[in-house]
Structure formats: C-alpha cells, structure tokens
C-alpha cells in the first residue's frame, strides 16, 4: 500500500539527510508502528506519505514514495487527500470548522462527494467513533480525547486507504488513549485501513501493532519486522519488554497478558524472603486494610523515606507535623463558570515527590498554577513557603517556587543558550554563571550559541528546568514533563529529579504517564473534577487502580512491584 524506494530527505540548509536509505513496503490492512528515539526523523518519514514532505516543508526528497500507486513526487498533498488521511501531533491545529459535524464533513466537501454520500458517511463515522452525542458541539468545548477522536474521524470520512498518525495518544490520559486505540484497531480489523503511526508511549500501543518499523539512530536505515523481533533489538522499549529482557523470556512478551503467563517463575523467585532484597529498602507505611500482600515496593529513591501526611479527611499520622514547603486549605478555584478545583487540602513536605494524576481537565494544571500564583484561589488559602503566591512579587516568588510549564518553550525568550542563561541569572539575582553551570551539568555538550528552538524536545525541557533551578526554589513543579520524550530522555529526567529530591527539593509533577509516576513519585494524588479522590503512597494508590497501574504492577500482581528497576535490584 505504501512503498518507500530508497528514500532520503534533506532539508534546506542541512548538511546531512534527515532520513536516508528508507526502503520498505507497508502492506495493505496492517497497523505499522514507527519506533525510535526522538530526533531520528519519524515525523519526516510520516510526512513523506501524505506528500507534505517535501511539497509543503521544502527540502529535497530522493528516491520514490508511492501510496496506493500514486507517486508523491507528482501528486500534491491535496491530490492525495482521498487516499491518505493525516493527523498531526496537535489536533487543535488540524480543525478548520467549528462544530463536530461540519468538521467531519469538511474533507468530503473538498473532494466533492455527493451530498447523500456525505450524509451517510458522517452518520457512520459518528457511530464508529462514538461521537453521536457530540455532533453539534463546538470543537473548542471538547476534551483532549474527544478532540483526538474528532480529528481521526475528520480524516476517516473520505474513506482513505491509509491513515498516518503522529503521536496520537501522547497528550491523552490513559483512559482516553485506550479509547482512541480501540478505534484504530477497529478500523484495521473491520475496514482494512492501513495505519502508519509514530508513538513514544510504546507501553500503550505496541500490543496493537502488526509490524514495527525501527529507526534505531539518526541516519540509520529503518528496519521492518515483527514487534517481538524488533523489540529485542530496539533502543526504546516499554517496561513489559524490559522485564522480559531482564527475565530472558523468549520470545519477548508484548502484552501484560502474555507476560503474566510467563511470570510464574519470576513471581516465585521474588516472593522469597526479603533478605535478598536491596538493603536500602524500607517499608512504606501501610494504610487501609484492603490489601492482603505486604507492601514490597519502596519509593525508588536513595533519599531516606520522608514522612508524608494526608490532611484530607482523616489526618492519622501521629508524629509531629513536619515542616511544609507548601500547603493548601479547602482551596477552590472557579474559572469562567467552571469549578476547576473544589475543596482541595494538601500539604507538601521537603524532599517529597508527588505525582498529580487524573483525566484531561481534572484540574491538575490549575492546581500547579495556583501553587505558583498564576491563578488566585476563589475561596480557601494557598501558602507556598509561607506566603500567598498570588500576592507575592515575581522576583521574590521565583526563589520560592518554580514551574516548568507544559510547553517549556514558553519560558525561553533568548536567541542563544548563553543569553538565556545570562538572563536567568539576572532574573534570579544569582551569581553569574550559575545557570550555565547547571546546563553543563544537566545537558553536557550543549554549545553556547545554540538557538533554543533547535534543541530537541528533551533538551529544551532540561534547559527550561535549568533556568527554573537557577533560583534554587525549594518547591519545583512540572506540568506534563514527559510529553514527547523518548525513554532515554525520560530516564535522564528521572535521575535528575531523584537527585533534586535527595537534595531536599519538593517536586510536584502533573502527568498522565503512569510509568513515570511509578518510577519517581513517593506519593500520588488523584484528581477528578477538581476534587482529590485519592492521596497516598504511590504503591497503594496506583496498585488499586486498573488504569493508573504501571505494567510491572499488572504483570506481577498480587505482589506489589512498581518498576523494572525494583525487580532488578531485588534479583541481584
């Protein structure tokens, strides 16, 4: 269906081709997953299928890409619109009209389909994607998962033979991601659509893939093979594969179900007395009486376990109140007739890492923004290092609390890394060179004259983090830090944040990434519709939730393990 013949793409002004030696064929009716670290040219490869590369982006394409027999060299994107449907990373930049029904019809109108055909297909697509109840809704009022489904639906209505998706689930919460993936699977199975998709969150998608195209490193030619085969050699892999590699299972399991079937021996081995376990392990205080198995997971941090306290409902910890970095008391926030937060009481102690989880729109970002003073509380109080953040002058506040926003680029204004660092030193009234030293430490090998825009997603996040850390705030907040990061960048981030926590920084991260929460957080706070619905040690909160449990937990249940690192430590 899609045939790449010795394709290479060189962008204007670049000395090296972004992708080269691409030579494979995607058969009809298969779901092919594009896997590789960030910066290997996955988006470029996807762009060549719809013809946007090079017709829209510029650059030189050598070789030949044919889609359903049409050569993309002679066909512009608009002339491929009836065979290829493309959904980019941000669904919002994809919408042309303003209601769901019109958006579904837009592509068909451009192709000039007959009105009766359009009407029928819109109805079919509304049913297929479960959007019937939303048909008249303005798109701006939909949640992230709904928008992603509308975006997919809008390219489905012209009945393309090929669907190209760039990170369709990265911005979604686990439940919404499953919704979208279920739809894709249905398309492949029932309609025979060919799907080519790139995604970093492999733990979500690998089980749906028929084949995997691995792009191991920049410039290396991609390889096509079965998922298990490719995962055995891939530099990026989900936790289930990591566990499989650790236990030397062959063939590698790709789903939690497969892994559970093989995990009997591993579970027995792990159930042995804790004497062989890592020495630093300390039991997490046990709460509630719902679990049978003893808690075997520990916060995976070299820092001594901190006392945590739950002030919601029943404060039961008997010890003296520890000093808090920040606290909120019956905090409520209303914005534009929406109750974003409702009666949130929370305290954050030094050295503690908290993961803030919940659906898209549950109030995670609002809570972070309130802690940093961007949003004043409607009722209730919020204190960050003893002062109300919304009434504190920014130059003072920056030394008390720092937030890395969802789009780290918002924090960066300057043309070069050096100028950015100098500005950060001035803003924080820190000694000259403080920020640059942090950048060197966190991101070795970054040149002074690099433009922040030319950095990769992970590097940009780290630069923003360095800028925020220049003022040494005791409280550090991160909003969706792993969006668009590959596993290597994520591992570096985890190490970095653990060190910061060990130095006594309190860290709060809002995230959909259950694996990240499992690796990093001592405590998880679950939000739903602006209310705190669970607040406790990571092991306890995520183990009991089917959608927030990490893969390792699911595989080794009823034993309570959170990460591959813990298992590895226990086995050695």
């Amino acid at each position: 269906m899609i045939r790449f013949e010795d394709v290479s793409v060189t962008y204007d002004g670049a000395s090296e081709p972004t992708i080269q030696g691409v030579d494979f064929e995607v058969p009809e009716g298969e779901l092919v997953l594009l896997v590789g670290p960030s910066g290997v040219g996955k988006s470029t490869l996807l762009g060549t299928v719809s013809g946007l590369v090079p017709h829209f982006t510029g650059g030189t394409l050598r070789g030949r890409v044919t889609v359903a027999g049409r050569d993309t060299r002679t066909h512009k994107p608009r002339e491929l619109a009836d065979v290829v449907g493309t959904v980019g990373q941000d669904p919002l930049s994809h919408f042309v009209t303003d209601t769901v029904e019109d958006e579904l019809a837009y592509g068909m109108e451009s192709l000039g389909l007959a009105p009766e055909v359009m009407r029928r297909r819109v109805e079919e697509t509304l049913d297929l994607l479960g959007l019937a109840a939303l048909r008249d809704r303005p798109i701006a009022t939909l949640s992230g998962g709904q928008q992603q489904r509308v975006a997919i639906g809008s390219v489905l209505t012209p009945h393309p033979q090929v669907l190209v998706l760039d990170e369709p689930t990265s911005a979604l919460d686990p439940a919404a991601a499953e919704e979208v993936l279920a739809v894709l699977q249905r398309l492949v199975h029932d309609l025979g659509t060919t799907v080519l998709m790139a995604e970093h969150r492999l733990e979500r998608v690998i089980q749906y893939a028929d084949q995997v195209t691995l792009m191991p490193s920049p410039g290396a030619p991609p390889r096509l093979g079965s998922p298990a085969e490719m995962m055995a050699v891939s530099p990026v892999y989900p936790p289930v594969v990591a566990l499989g590699r650790l236990a030397s299972w062959s063939p590698l399991p790709l789903t939690v179900r497969d892994a559970r079937r093989r995990a009997g021996a591993l579970r027995d081995q792990l159930a042995q007395p804790a004497g062989s376990r890592a020495a630093g392990a300390a039991p997490v205080p046990k709460r509630g009486g719902t679990r049978q198995a003893p808690v075997s997971a520990t916060p995976p941090t070299p820092a001594p376990p901190r006392r945590w306290r739950r002030t919601l409902r029943k404060p039961t910890t008997p010890s003296a109140t520890p000093p808090t970095v920040a606290e909120t008391h019956s905090l409520s926030v209303r914005r534009a007739q929406v109750q974003a937060l409702r009666d949130v009481t929370l305290s954050i102690t030094p050295g503690e890492t908290i993961a803030l989880m919940g659906r898209n729109g549950a109030g995670k970002s609002t809570l972070l923004n309130t802690l940093v003073g961007l949003v004043p509380p409607t009722t209730g109080t919020v204190l960050t290092t003893g002062v109300p953040p919304h009434r504190t002058a920014p130059p003072d506040l920056v030394r008390r609390v720092g937030l890395v926003p969802q789009e780290p680029r918002d924090l960066l204004y300057a043309d070069t890394v050096a100028a950015e660092c100098a500005a950060a030193d001035r803003d924080a009234q820190a000694e000259t060179g403080t920020c640059r030293a942090l950048v060197t430490q966190l991101l070795p090998g970054i040149q002074d004259d690099t433009h922040p825009r030319d950095l990769s997603e992970g590097q940009r996040l780290t630069l923003a983090l360095a800028v925020v850390l220049t003022a040494r705030p005791p409280l550090l907040l991160l909003d969706e830090p792993t969006r668009g990061l590959d596993y290597a960048a994520k591992t570096r981030l985890v190490t970095l944040l653990r060190d910061l926590a060990a130095e006594g920084h309190a860290i709060v991260l809002a995230t959909h990434d259950v694996e990240l929460a499992a690796e990093l957080a001592h405590r998880v706070v679950l939000l739903a519709e602006g209310e705190v619905i669970a607040d406790g040690p990571t092991a306890e909160v995520v183990v009991s939730s089917p959608s927030f449990a990490p893969q390792v937990t699911k595989i080794l249940a009823p034993q309570e393990w959170l990460t591959v690192a813990q298992v590895r430590e226990a086995l050695t």
Partner: protein, 357 residues
C-alpha cells in the same frame, strides 16, 4: 443543543431580520420605540440562540452600545450642544478658546434639552449596534460562509481562518505573560507586553503554518480541470463586468452621465455574476447539509422587513410621534400602531427552532 431534527434556520434570514430592525431604529428617535426594539431583539436572542461560542457576542455588543451612549452624553456635556435650551442643569467652567476656534465650546451651560437630545441620538445608534449584535449571536458566521458562491468559497475560508487568528493571539499573549511571571519578571506593564511580542508572533505563525498543512492534506484547493475556453470566458466576464460596474457608478454620480449610468451598471453587474457562476465550475466542492431557505426563513426575514417598512411609513405619515420634540421638552408618548409594528419583530421566537433542553 438544537437538534438537527429541525435544522437550523438559514443564517441569511437572521441577518435580514436584524438589519430590518436596525433600519427601523434609524427611522425614529422615540426612546420608547427604541427601547421596544431593543427588548424585541433581546427576547428573540434569549429564546433562539444556541449554546455556542459565537452566541456570547450579544452581551459584548450590549456593552459596546452602552459605551456609545455614554460617550455621546459625555460629548454633549463637555462640548456643549447646538440645541437651544432654557432648563439649565449645571454650568461647567468654560475654557476660553482662541478666536480661530470659534464655534467650539469647552464646558459652559448644560441644559436638559441638550442632554435629552443627545440621549435620543445616542439611543438610536446603540439600538442599531444591538441589532447587529443579535444577528451575530443568532447566526454562525461560518455557516453564512456556506451560502457563498463556489468561486468565492476558498477566499471565504481564508477570511474566517484569519478571523480566528485574533482570539488565538490574545490567548498566546496571556500564556506568555504568565510565563514571564514564572521567570521572575514583572508580568504587567507595556515593557512586559513588548517583550513577549516576538514569541507570540512566532507561535501564531507556526500555528497558521500547521493549519495550512492540515488543510492542504485534507484537499483544500483541489480544482477541477476546465477547458481553456471556459477559463478565458470567465476572466473576460469578471473583468469586463467589474469595469462596467465602475463606469456605471461613475456615470450615476456625475451629472452628465445620467442616461448611460444605470444600464451600464446593470450590464456590468450581470456580467460579473455570470463570471462568478462560471468560475464556480473550477471548484469541485460540494456542500454538506446546506441551509435551506424554507418557509420559516421567509417568515423570519419577512418580519424584519415588515418592521422596517412600517416604521419608514410611519416616519413619513406621523413624524411628530416618531421624533418627539426636545424644544420645548415634552414627555414622549408611545404611538400605538408603530409600537404594534415593532412587535412583529417577535415573530422569529415563535417560528425559529429553539434550543431543546
């Protein structure tokens, strides 16, 4: 949401209705009639509008109308008014102006007559604005786009996309000013706004490029093959037609060209329309569920037209009642049959599809 079982009314009908009320407003200065017009539009908006982002524009127009009224009154107080009046309310200190500024007055006597005159005048303009606001709130601007001829559609989409640029830009400015605060810089003041300027423009440009890519990939701008003869005829008709319209307008406006002006204008118009129609052949587009001009649309548009026609008639037959005097001051009376005519404007709230709960 309105159920599509009873499809939405044609947006053109709403615009005609609103323009009819607006025309009626320009025919009178009677505050009672004007208030009745505002109440009519408000009632129809309240009963017929749908829960969508564009329907919130009515309150924005209300505020704008109020601002216009206040500014009009302020000018009447500060700059004086040519209306001769005897009821002095207050005497402001008058600023002496040099002789070349004769005829302009700053401060001085403020009379009740001049205030009432300014109020009537301002109210007229405010009512007109509110009627336009009603049309905005009731008709989705992008649905109006669907009624454009095929040849103009693509240009129309570009305009609508450009219009969404401004709200996005404002959202970007807010986000980046918040980010400045995170960097520990003051987030208020002109300097703060200037420093986020470049990143905001960069972001807006990037989003526009992404949207253009998405539209291209979805088939925007696909054209059908048309024979060269048709293409040339289209160009000739459009160009010739526009030239004809220009020459005809010139002829109508000059004293000498009274004879050839009108025929030339009409011929030019016809040629231009034919060119547009022929140009539509190049476009492959079809319309998904186009709004039909049905009986309800006739009723809604007709009710607006009737209000305009009846008030125009009333203003010629009974100018006293529609333009209550200010010198001497009299209390305005409500003329009965023009008031009844205004109430015809309520018809849409009975015939138009309502929001189903």
């Amino acid at each position: 949401m309105a159920s599509r079982g009873r499809p939405a009314l044609h947006p053109g009908a709403w615009w005609l209705w609103a323009l009819g009320l607006g025309t009626a407003a320009t025919r009178t200065t009677n505050p009672l009639l004007l208030a009745l017009l505002v109440a009519t539009s408000a009632y129809v908006v309240a009963t017929c509008r749908q829960r969508a982002p564009w329907s919130r524009s009515y309150s924005a127009f209300l505020k704008l109308a109020l601002a216009v009224l206040v500014i009009r009154l302020f000018f009447a107080v500060a700059l004086g008014s040519p209306i001769p009046g005897t009821h002095v309310i207050v005497t402001l200190p008058e600023v002496p102006l040099p002789h070349w500024a004769q005829g302009i007055r700053l401060g001085g006597r403020v009379t009740a007559e001049s205030l009432v005159f300014a109020l009537y005048d301002g109210l007229k303009l405010a009512t007109l604005l509110i009627c336009v606001g009603a049309a905005n709130a009731l008709a989705n601007p992008s649905r109006l786009l669907k009624s454009l001829p095929g040849a103009l559609y693509e240009a129309g989409v570009a305009i609508v996309v450009a219009l969404t640029f401004a709200p996005n830009l404002i959202a970007d400015v807010q986000r980046l000013r918040a980010a400045r605060r995170l960097r520990g810089r003051p987030d208020r003041g002109v300097r703060g706004l200037l420093q986020v300027g470049l990143p905001v423009l960069e972001g807006a440009l990037e989003r526009s490029v992404a949207l253009a890519a998405a539209m291209d990939a979805r088939g925007y701008g696909r054209t059908a093959e048309v024979p060269p003869a048709v293409r040339r005829t289209t160009a000739a008709l459009t160009l010739g037609g526009l030239l004809g319209v220009c020459a005809g307008t010139y002829g109508l406006l000059t004293a000498a060209g009274g004879t050839y002006g009108l025929p030339l204008l009409l011929a030019g118009l016809a040629a231009a329309l034919a060119g547009l129609r022929l140009g539509g052949r190049r476009s492959l587009r079809t319309r998904y569920r186009p709004d039909r001009w049905d009986a309800r649309a006739w009723l809604v548009a007709g009710s607006g037209g009737a209000v305009a026609a009846l008030l125009t008639l009333a203003s010629t037959s009974d100018p006293e009642a529609l333009h209550p005097g200010v010198v001497p001051l009299v209390a305005p009376a409500l003329p009965l049959w023009p008031a009844a005519a205004v109430l015809i404007g309520l018809l849409p709230s009975f015939v138009a599809p309502k929001e189903s709960s």
